[in-house]
Symmetry: C2
Subunit: 479 residues, 2 copies
């Protein structure tokens, strides 16, 4: 071997291998349905197929790409499959993928304006575009985060700093802080309280009504009760589009209670937020413009490859107060004249994420995005109508957006058998390969979920999963 | 306009646009030196050049790519430029970029084994390969995080949970926890303490010696003093490769003190960790195998595009205890038989990051990576020797890895003038376009830093920045 270091691919090699990868993706996107949506490998299969040690000497790109196709692809659960209807079905898109590619190649860390002026300013611009699309007032300042877990953590940290108790310096100490959210809130709210040192006991779950919406009167009662008991209520997290059912908390009523009690109002619209771009959906968002902070994820339902979480705050100075920490080695001549986004979040290192959303917003246009969201919502309504019309099925929640909650309830089957039956039904449907659905529990009831959100999901796909559900229900209920 | 939603790019369109982007990247990587390394736009320039609103209707990929070239590229600070020697010079590579591209296209959220079996198992495998390359024992369990900010936060959270004080449930409360680190530790340590609700006061900075290494006797003294004063010492963060000078804390001696006082030992080797793959560098890492947790970033000095931070813990059950929170909707049939990585960190959503490191390790091989690191270290030694030989310059720190700290000290110039002089020198060098260097302060002394870490940096590039420094020093010291 030569003493010279292995060089990187030459431009010519990169071109050849890059075209090969692009062609593979084009073929893949043309027909992800050639694969079962849910991988069929068993735990340990891929691990067992790979060498125990990193290779000592260089290998060719051809050999590793062959292994990618032979070993990795069978272990992929295809989030791009139009039959992926589990959790929240997310969707990337061609322009989003190419934006991600350029961002990976440029390899910018946009911590400071200086280290990525275009990344910083494109972030300001696209976060402004998105804010306007969603109908939010211009007081909201946007920051691109990676995930809603981080955005929500930032919201709680900001609310904590807003108390002016010197927690940044002295820690949470003995302050008995209380945060309110619905029993249907995402687990990231409770996780933020754990991480921030407030503890799980600082989170009080407010009961929800028959449609899984936080009950404002219960919130007001809890706040009053806690104040009397020596707690310091400081925050309420309302959700527009909860994870299990996409239910919508009554944000306007919650905002009134927040205002009366000086609570920070954070709105978690991680999934449903993009639907605020539809005028007909805007009423569901009534009151969110009064929030102190909001999260919505373009990587969920706005054609942007994972990860991209949009965090908006009405109080950028508070966010900065919660997080900014500037050592000498990060000071620059532009600190007074430009924005350094590292001051507004947990991570110092920041990818150039704005590029992919810029490509997506321009490629599809606002109108194009609205049409896609409308299609998903219409498909969900159609699916719900089939559930409603079948005496062997039962719908378990309203369908405000693009997720349907239901269960099979074969006529005559006792309630006590339904959980086991639906759990088996879930496994049977997911084993087929054409669809992947997930489950939840609603007030103790085992519930199936069909979530529609991929760009390539058509009526034929929801019809296929519906027929599969019907057929497997028949098969499983035969003695 | 049709009522049909704007479709995504067809496979044929994706192929055409994708090849165009790949070709652009190939040309770019062939010669990033056509651009000034530091962008020359002024704050606000790009913002002013872009429309105030998102387009209503779709645009062509051609038009947005033209804008990328015309408007965005001039605002890029080129981390790929071989003259990028600021902060830590990081480096991607061809195979890393193609791994990132595939990961963006597959768009997997590897939160659960089920949602990305290959992503989960490839993560287990490459984190095992890397651990072995670095000479760490097999007890270390690896998790891919996004940044060292998050890895360090996880370490502190794990150490906090390890106390068994019920902080997860009840919050930090009145416990007066103390964490020790050197005055040269990265700002992310203090930031983690702020975020976790421990507060800045919980961090006690231990003085360093003349070579910027934590003084173990000072650590022992501080721990004893704090215990006597009612603090609860719980953690020490040692650094191998500090941010300002890449100094190496005496980890073995610190490990002894940690063991004697039951402190969690976290080693921050975010930058320098990859050098542990070099046998001749291994002595600098003595003692880190006794750590409770370690962070090192392949996105810094192991050819992997940003972001990829490798976090290792000896106590995976503690990490899980600190973070795991599994709502019903995330339970799967494989929970008992497979790893769900969402249980081991802050974020629920997790990109498929293992793919790019797998490509990098195979393409270059362990030997190829070692050669590249050796080359960077040799270039830094060469640069340091030039500084040492020039009576108008002064070296300000040892060079254990690939960063040189120094200043111009024109003969006869009084000490009081040197800060202003070197600050002007920094600006003059960075204005040239061929190099980007940064600064720090060492015991109050304004210090220039040349950091070598990009795959394409050669002797000619460090010679160019050295000649630039000499020429500008001459020019600026003329009356």
């Amino acid at each position: 071997m030569s003493d010279l270091p292995r060089p990187d691919m030459t431009p010519e090699e990169f071109r050849i291998h890059g075209h090969r990868v692009i062609d593979w993706i084009a073929d893949y996107m043309a027909n992800p349905e050639r694969y079962p949506v849910l991988s069929r490998i068993q735990p340990g299969d891929l691990r067992a197929a790979l060498p125990a040690h990193a290779p000592e000497h260089p290998e060719s790109f051809e050999s590793m790409f062959a292994d990618f196709e032979k070993l990795v692809v069978p272990g992929i659960t295809h989030w791009n499959h139009p039959g992926f209807m589990a959790y929240f079905a997310i969707t990337g898109s061609g322009p989003g993928i190419l934006g991600e590619l350029l961002s990976g190649a440029l390899n910018i860390n946009a911590m400071l304006w200086r280290t990525g002026p275009a990344a910083t300013e494109l972030e300001e611009v696209v976060m402004g575009w998105l804010r306007e699309m969603l109908g939010l007032p211009s007081e909201f300042f946007g920051v691109v985060m990676d995930t809603a877990s981080i955005s929500t953590l930032c919201a709680v940290a900001e609310a904590r700093e807003n108390l002016g108790l010197g927690i940044r310096e002295k820690g949470t100490g003995a302050a008995r802080l209380r945060l309110y959210t619905s029993e249907h809130a995402h687990s990231s709210v409770e996780k933020a309280a754990i991480i921030l040192g407030l503890g799980q006991e600082s989170v009080r779950m407010i009961p929800s009504d028959a449609e899984f919406r936080m009950i404002p009167a219960e919130l007001a009662r809890a706040v009053a009760e806690d104040k009397a008991a020596g707690w310091l209520p400081f925050m309420v997290v309302a959700t527009i589009g909860t994870t299990s059912t996409t239910s919508v908390d009554p944000v306007a009523a919650i905002a009134d209670i927040a205002a009366a009690n000086k609570l920070w109002l954070h709105v978690d619209a991680a999934y449903a937020g993009p639907a605020a771009s539809l005028p007909e959906m805007r009423p569901k968002f009534a009151g969110w413009e009064r929030a102190d902070s909001i999260v919505t994820n373009p990587h969920k339902w706005m054609l942007t490859p994972f990860d991209f979480s949009a965090f908006y705050t009405r109080h950028p100075a508070k966010l900065r107060a919660a997080f900014s920490l500037v050592p000498e080695y990060l000071r620059t001549a532009e600190d007074a004249s430009a924005r350094n986004y590292m001051d507004y979040g947990v991570q110092l290192g920041r990818r150039f994420r704005a590029l992919k959303l810029w490509f997506v917003l321009r490629y599809f246009g606002q109108e194009g995005i609205r049409q896609i969201l409308r299609k998903h919502i219409a498909l969900a309504q159609m699916f719900a109508s089939w559930v409603d019309a079948d005496p062997n099925f039962e719908r378990l929640a309203p369908v405000p957006f693009s997720v349907v909650c239901f269960r099979a309830k074969p006529q005559g089957m006792p309630e006590a058998e339904l959980e086991k039956f639906n759990s088996s039904l879930l496994d049977a449907v997911n084993a087929d390969g054409r669809a992947f659905i997930s489950h939840t529990k609603l007030k103790g009831v085992y519930t199936l979920r069909v979530a529609i959100g991929h760009l390539r999901t058509e009526e034929s796909h929801i019809r296929a999963v519906w027929e599969l559900l019907q057929a497997q229900t028949n098969a499983l209920s035969k003695p």
